[in-house]
Symmetry: C2
Subunit: 214 residues, 2 copies
DNA sequence: ACTAAGAATTCTGCATACAAAATATTACAT
DNA sequence: ATGTAATATTTTGTATGCAGAATTCTTAGT
């Protein structure tokens, strides 16, 4: 039975991202290292290591002498992140083997169709969406690109909890996922890539109004 | 007189990248934290923080229990990185204001033309190339994208020293830069973006043969 | 001489300690 | 009451300490 043998900093990073999804931290909030470390039951050292990693991913900001804080959210930044992820994911799709994509298309379609039925809590649905995109890109041979996408998406997690309580956006996303899967089933990769970009642009539009004005 | 007031971890990170450019570290080499910290005249704490940052950028790898090491180089990874940066830079160019680009085109052209004349050492030339690309993208309003490009390029620094002693690739790069600048001067942004992608693809080809086989 | 077990050493990962910077509080003058 | 200077407190940034894992060295046995 494999006991947990991973660096504390990684576990801490994931725990913080999870709490971020839950909306535990307001954007712009300062982090008190000692208090947070005590709450997590670890020392400041691995906590700081996790904070530095998250700062590198854009989740946190750091200012000399005054520590870390959750980076403030803004429509501008969210738009920027969507532009980036859209470009990276379409690149990943274009680099994938068309035959492989056609093979996983049915599974992608099934997942997308079973999407709104799942009456799970929002947090589970978010994870579900991530897994769908992961499967979509699982055939991309560019490993560095996949890592980078994961990292950039971590920077977007500050925004996910803003969708709380509204299912409409998720249903529309599911419909778009179906469209993408159908294009893949037909072997029309360019159309799928275009639909994927639309998915990000639309998702961005749906979110923008929920982001508080600066 | 503003004295140096930045976190040690950032200064350490830059120093390590500089030494990497000089070819001080062989790919795959394990890092001895205590020895390196002593050499740099700092304690292990900020050094480790810098190492964690570099690991996040792909410069280093970390394995539980056996610390950090410089990630091994490979043709596959270099190709992957080039694909990524090419996509990101062309995106940045497409997002830029065409009027601004036309305005800086002359400066870009002049810099590119003065390129091979500079008989400076290779390391300076590399930095020169970086600055040219920075200027090219300086009109991109997507700040997150610019940060991301910088970060991904840090991950490519493990490869730059492999160009040591050969000016031919740099001269060809200069010619390509001229081409890009000329397209911008004409206001033909799509052509410039295409030339920029070619620049990365060609640069990749030039480099590939120099990367030792795995 | 080669292998394997085990001891000794080295090194990492995490915790704690300390100094300096930033922030909060108090005292006082206006 | 308000602003300000002096002081106390908090908090970060860096250094040091320590336990355990990984590695190297030693040596006994074949």
């Amino acid at each position: 039975m494999g006991i947990e043998r991973r660096p504390l900093r990684e576990q801490i990073r994931e725990e913080l991202l999870l709490r971020l999804d839950r909306g535990d931290f307001a954007a712009g909030t300062d982090i008190n290292e000692a208090a947070l470390a005590a709450e997590l039951g670890v020392s400041r050292t691995p906590l700081r290591e996790a904070l530095i990693t998250l700062a590198g991913e854009g989740v946190l900001e750091s200012n000399q002498g005054r520590g870390f804080r959750f980076a403030p959210v803004s429509r501008k930044e969210f738009r920027e992140l969507c532009e980036i992820v859209a470009a990276l994911e379409t690149l990943a799709l274009r680099l994938s083997d068309p035959a492989y994509l056609r093979r996983v298309a049915p599974e992608l379609l099934a997942l997308a169709r079973g999407f709104p039925d799942a009456v799970a809590e929002r947090q589970v649905i978010e994870r579900h969406d991530d897994e769908w995109h992961d499967l979509l890109l699982s055939g991309c041979p560019n490993e560095r690109l996949l890592d980078l996408i994961t990292s950039v998406k971590a920077g977007m997690r500050r925004y996910t909890h803003l969708l709380a309580g509204d299912d409409a956006p998720l249903e529309r996303a599911a419909a778009e996922h179906c469209r993408i899967a159908e294009h893949l089933a037909e072997g029309d990769l360019p159309a799928a890539a275009e639909a994927l970009r639309d998915n990000w642009v639309n998702g961005m539009e749906r979110m923008l109004s929920r982001i508080p004005a600066p």
